[in-house]
Symmetry: C2
Amino acid sequence: MSTLIQTETQSPLFSEVIRGRRSVRQYDKSVRLSREQIKELLSEATLAPSSSNIQPWRFLIIDTEELKEQLQPIAYNQSQISEAAAVIVVLGDTEGYYKADQIYGEAAVRGYMPEETAKTFAERTKSIYGSLPKEALHKIIYTDGGLVSQQLMLVARAHGYDTVPMGGYDAAKLQAAFEISERYIPIMLIALGKAAKPGHPTTRLPIDDIAYFNEMPAAE
Amino acid sequence: MSTLIQTETQSPLFSEVIRGRRSVRQYDKSVRLSREQIKELLSEATLAPSSSNIQPWRFLIIDTEELKEQLQPIAYNQSQISEAAAVIVVLGDTEGYYKADQIYGEAAVRGYMPEETAKTFAERTKSIYGSLPKEALHKIIYTDGGLVSQQLMLVARAHGYDTVPMGGYDAAKLQAAFEISERYIPIMLIALGKAAKPGHPTTRLPIDDIAYFNEMPAAE
């Protein structure tokens, strides 16, 4: 109880959050989050940037026992699906750029940019995105989906919760089971809850193997 | 001076970092980061998770005045390229899964998993990734690239620096100018430095417009 109160009133140190986040696969089935709590996590997650601020991310949150059970075989029976408090299906909206009017219009209302600029930005954005080849649009959506997903996992940890990102699921079955139209592309599943057991430690490649100053390395 | 000392010795609060990060387009040209500092930021950024822990991200750091000038027209003359201390080209390595032996082998050396498990994981990962269609492999690379990029931008802010992610550049010219082989896919550019002027505030879509509990919304 005291932990919960503490995490709600005092943000932890940034370094604790990035070092404390682990991919957790075993969850305490007695811990559930309210929808308000989940929405608060998503509000903080979506402070992440996106290409042209289009925010193409959408979130389908599965938090009933029945639907988690339905999702579990679609995610190759990974037990965290049913044990976690919720599973968040991170989606990319291939028509998300239609919201450019709303996004830039709100920026004008708040005085962040002149109204004329907002209109110009919105028209230009819709025109550019509307003429992108599918592969280029998908690249943006996946990348922006990664940005917001990382911030979501860190935000969850900062509030005392745990997550695991999952790429192992049958996307076609997921879209059919949850009536997700082709307009939306599944990016990943993120299980959310309280760890029953800590995640395993994992290794990282040495920085000198993956970071190059001013020129690429010779072919390996 | 005191700010620098403070950021090096005491991590800020997580909430300050996510709320303080802004896309910054004007940089203090007098502030430069050492290569050790940049590598420290990348070390913390790469604590982010990735699909099968393959860490397909690679970083080409452009930090000389000459090369930043060469990059600037490739990024459509955005002035942050030359003003920032460095520009980090975030790349995805389409052959990154070959490092599975190194990654899982190190996990076995550290006692995170038995050696036999590590070998099995490495073989299975190489087999699965090696047979993925190009589009599926690119999806993973872009998404993982987004995960690490978001953590990098937050880490930079936590250390008192600013960033801006950039998707606006000519990828073919970038690959030619810096001799980046086709094996690597550019994901984004991230300018890194100290803000000369704060980034503009931006708006976010209301959570109720983008988060759905248990069923997708009716078509708009």
